[in-house]
């Protein structure tokens, strides 16, 4: 027997989704100084079931929830081994059933810096180690308690360590982990009940979180033309409570997810500077999150802003 909640979970971890790009604070790829890569990304995520605690449920008042986002972003090589990133997504969440309005708006601004502090030849390849710091801030006054809220409404600071080994043949493995320290979420209303207590405030203490992933991939020898990788990702809230039966999801719920995904990149020779990207992911297991399937793609364009003497724009991988 299925339980049908009248309410449902806010779409969560979209900020993670927006990191899925050609080059992100969580991968091991770097741009050279002066190289700029700007892009537009589209992501479509659908789910018709979600976990309330550890029970997987459908919700007849929602049907299938579709979350679409369009993000603009860029990567810039500042000095050797140091890149910065920024993205800003617009998100729309719409149900296929029920009579509750969909919700859309500008979501969270992401800014990050990534630094490679180790690049060492080991055997027939290179071992690389990088760190990154990411700051995420809600970029509009969206309503975090909306049934189809576009985000959690809180700032998030992420520290990340990335380790990769790439063989000279182009096969690579990568593992990375991030620790999220979250600021408070700000509700519209001034009273809420969660975690067995009532709070007379619009401020919600958000649990911190971790994410970690392992990736296997292949990239062509020019470090550029084609890249394909498969990824296994885990997201874990470090605290928070389960959605109560018949209650609406709440920003500070414990939200966990285990996902698999794949990313592809193709930079055709005939269109200099242009890059095409496709990514997909599927949620295998979760807690208080939607069981999402997402597919996204993007177009990037890169060129040298300075250091134009370097004849080709070749990211060091």
């Amino acid at each position: 027997m299925r339980k049908f909640n009248f309410f449902y979970l806010v779409t969560c971890f979209l900020s993670i989704t927006s990191e899925v790009q050609a080059q992100t604070p969580s991968d091991a790829v770097l741009m050279n100084p002066g190289q700029f890569c700007g892009g537009i990304f589209y992501n479509n995520s659908t789910a018709s079931e979600y976990w309330q605690g550890d029970s997987l449920l459908a919700n007849g008042n929602v049907g299938t929830l579709t979350s679409q986002s369009i993000a603009a972003g860029f990567t810039l090589g500042i000095i050797k081994n140091l890149n910065i990133y920024a993205t800003l997504p617009w998100v729309k969440n719409s149900p296929s059933a029920g009579y509750v309005e969909s919700e859309s708006g500008i979501q969270d601004f992401l800014f990050a810096a990534k630094y490679q502090f180790l690049d060492k030849k080991v055997g027939a390849g290179h071992i690389k180690a990088l760190v990154s710091a990411t700051g995420i801030l809600p970029a509009s006054q969206y309503i975090p308690e909306h049934p189809y809220a576009i985000g959690l409404g809180c700032p998030d600071g992420i520290g990340r360590l990335i380790l990769a080994y790439k063989t000279d043949m182009g096969v690579y493995i990568k593992t990375q982990g991030g620790y999220h320290i979250r600021g408070n979420s700000e509700l519209v209303r001034g009273y809420y009940y969660t975690d067995n207590s009532a709070y007379q405030s619009n401020i919600v203490d958000m649990p911190n979180a971790v994410d970690y992933s392992a990736t296997v991939g292949y990239i062509t020898s020019d470090n550029l033309t084609f890249k394909a990788e498969a990824e296994f990702l885990i997201l874990n809230s470090l605290g928070g409570f389960d959605i109560r039966a018949w209650d609406q999801g709440f920003p500070s719920n414990e939200m966990d997810a285990m996902r698999i995904g794949a990313n592809f990149q193709y930079i055709p020779e005939f269109a200099k500077g242009l890059g095409l990207h496709v990514n997909t992911a599927y949620t295998l297991e979760g807690r208080n999150v939607w069981k999402t399937f997402n597919i996204g793609g993007g177009i990037t364009y890169f060129f040298n802003v300075w250091n134009k003497k370097e004849s080709t724009a070749t990211p060091t991988e």
Partner: protein
């Protein structure tokens, strides 16, 4: 390598910077410092209680003399406690403050928020009637009418109990502890009010009994709170054991009267089974079928019966009967008045402003919250401590506020199921709302009726804040339009009827001796 370290440090610092802004201490209730009372109300023991005939109904014996060995031993106990408080005890003393009724109302609000969720579905996968056996862990379903009735019984009992303590305080005149013994450490500002019997004990005992009766799954939690409240009186240097014991007797007596009333106020018949419900729907079709299709739950799957269709039969506190307040019928579907209201909601579906959406959520007070009545209690509590009211005057306001909202609930529910008027998204599926529609008919709006009554009563007690309360009531009422779960006429008529209900409570307050 030096460069390396520098950049690593910078990245680390940037991350830490974002992190450190996260420290916070989120309050569970209103924040106030214990204060000096703005009045003593020596004659308060003669005020007219709501269910008791007078404050002298409970017989409380004269206390031992302040020079007796017995009393001196009690004082010594208080002195031992109050001079050596642990950090935890100090926190508890500060939390309860010198107006414990404020905290009891908050505890009641939290219990409502905890239980304001529909029960589990039956074995057929469909929703059962929104009641449950007291044996289930989700009992009771503390929906808005349940909550309004609970707040009314609780606060009125606190008023009657406090009147009774005032009666004996100024009959026996046992001085405050710090007056008898200057070496007592009083945790709060001095308020020269006789200590026997303790109003806080009477309030705690009455609250404990009533809340335990209505929330049988939380008896242990409620008892723990009551013990904490009671103990904190000694820790604060405010009451001795005999003050508390006499207060307990009053609380026990008064809560018994209120619990007995609650057993026979017809609330237990308010929720009906599917067969009875179908009869009510058929009656609505017979009466109004040519003007509107009766309200249907449009959730997936639909809930088979609405929330408490016969709540209009519950015994009111002040209004003579529900018929006297029942408004005329809402506009027929397709009429000019209807089309105008429908057009407004269609427009809001497309073009609601940020401010309008926020108002819908700010006053949403839906499932999993303390309901609109809880929201008004919170607003009242802030005014009460701001005005420095003593416990007697505080519970008087809570009592009239909540009995008025209790009557508002009764009157509104009568109207809702008399007309069985559809919700906007049923009448026109093009209308989308900001959240789920409550499981009861639209006309009139519960939020508006509760808020109309609340604003009227609070404006009477705080005339200089009348505009503010009126604005809040209009906001609460409009929020249902902005949320598109009510037509404007649902809200406007509800607000007007709410005001009328409030006037009945005010009429009673005018002659209770406390004006």
């Amino acid at each position: 390598m030096k460069n390396n370290n520098l950049i690593l440090t910078a990245l680390f610092s940037a991350t830490v910077l974002v992190f450190t802004s996260c420290e916070n201490d989120i309050p569970g209730g209103i924040v106030y410092e214990a204060y000096t009372f703005s009045s003593k109300d020596e004659d308060g023991g003669n005020w007219k209680p709501i269910l008791l005939t007078s404050g002298a109904d409970v017989i409380i014996d004269a206390p031992a003399d302040v020079t007796s060995a017995e009393y001196l031993a009690e004082l010594a106990e208080v002195k031992t406690f109050s001079s050596s408080l642990s950090a935890d005890q100090k926190e508890i003393v500060a939390y309860w403050g010198n107006n414990t009724a404020v905290r009891w109302m908050e505890i009641a609000e939290a219990l409502v928020a905890k239980y304001n969720l529909p029960p589990d579905p039956g074995p057929d996968g469909n929703y059962p009637p929104p009641t449950a056996s007291p044996l289930t862990s989700d009992f009771p379903f503390a929906h808005p009418p349940f909550a309004s009735r609970m707040y009314a019984h609780l606060s009125a009992s606190l008023y009657d109990a406090t009147i009774s303590t005032w009666h004996y305080k100024f009959t026996y005149n046992r001085p405050a502890l710090y007056v008898t013994d200057g070496s007592i450490t009083l945790a709060y500002p001095k308020n020269d009010i006789p200590s026997y019997p303790s109003e806080d004990a009477a309030i705690a005992m009455s609250a404990q009994n009533i809340l335990s009766f209505l929330f049988p799954n939380d008896v242990a939690f409620i008892a723990e709170k009551a013990k904490e409240c009671r103990d904190s009186r000694k820790w604060a240097g405010l009451a001795t054991e005999s003050d508390l014991v006499a207060g307990d007797s009053i609380g026990n007596y008064v809560s018994f009267i209120y619990i007995e009333r609650s057993k026979v106020d017809n609330a237990k018949f308010a929720q009906v089974d599917k067969a009875t419900y179908t009869l009510l729907e058929d009656t609505a079709t017979m009466l109004w079928g040519d003007q509107w299709q009766h309200w249907l739950n449009i959730d997936f799957p639909p809930r088979p019966v609405g929330v408490t269709p016969l709540f209009g039969n519950v015994t009111p506190w002040w209004i003579p009967n529900v018929e006297a307040l029942r408004p005329g019928p809402p506009p027929a579907i397709g009429s000019v008045a209807y089309l105008e209201a429908e057009e407004e909601l269609l427009d809001l579906t497309e073009n609601a402003t940020k401010e309008q959406e926020e108002m819908a959520f700010n006053w949403g007070d839906g499932p999993g919250t303390y309901t609109p009545c809880g929201h008004w209690n919170l607003l009242a509590a802030e005014k009460i401590v701001e005005a420095g009211l003593n416990p007697l005057r505080s519970v008087r306001i809570f009592a009239y506020l909540n009995t008025a909202m209790g009557d508002a609930g009764i009157s509104c529910w009568d109207t809702k199921y008399y007309y069985f008027y559809p919700r906007p998204s049923q009448a026109n599926p093009e209308i989308k709302s900001t959240f789920m529609t409550p499981n009861f008919p639209g006309y009139t709006s519960g939020h508006s009726t509760f808020s109309g009554a609340a604003a009227q009563v609070l404006s009477h007690f705080f005339p200089s804040d009348a505009n503010e309360f009126e604005n809040f009531a209009v906001e609460a009422s409009n929020s249902r339009i902005y949320g598109r779960i009510h037509f404007r006429f649902d809200c406007e008529v509800g607000l007007t009827v709410g005001n009328e209900v409030g006037d009945f409570a005010i009429s009673a307050a005018m002659v209770d001796g406390g004006e």
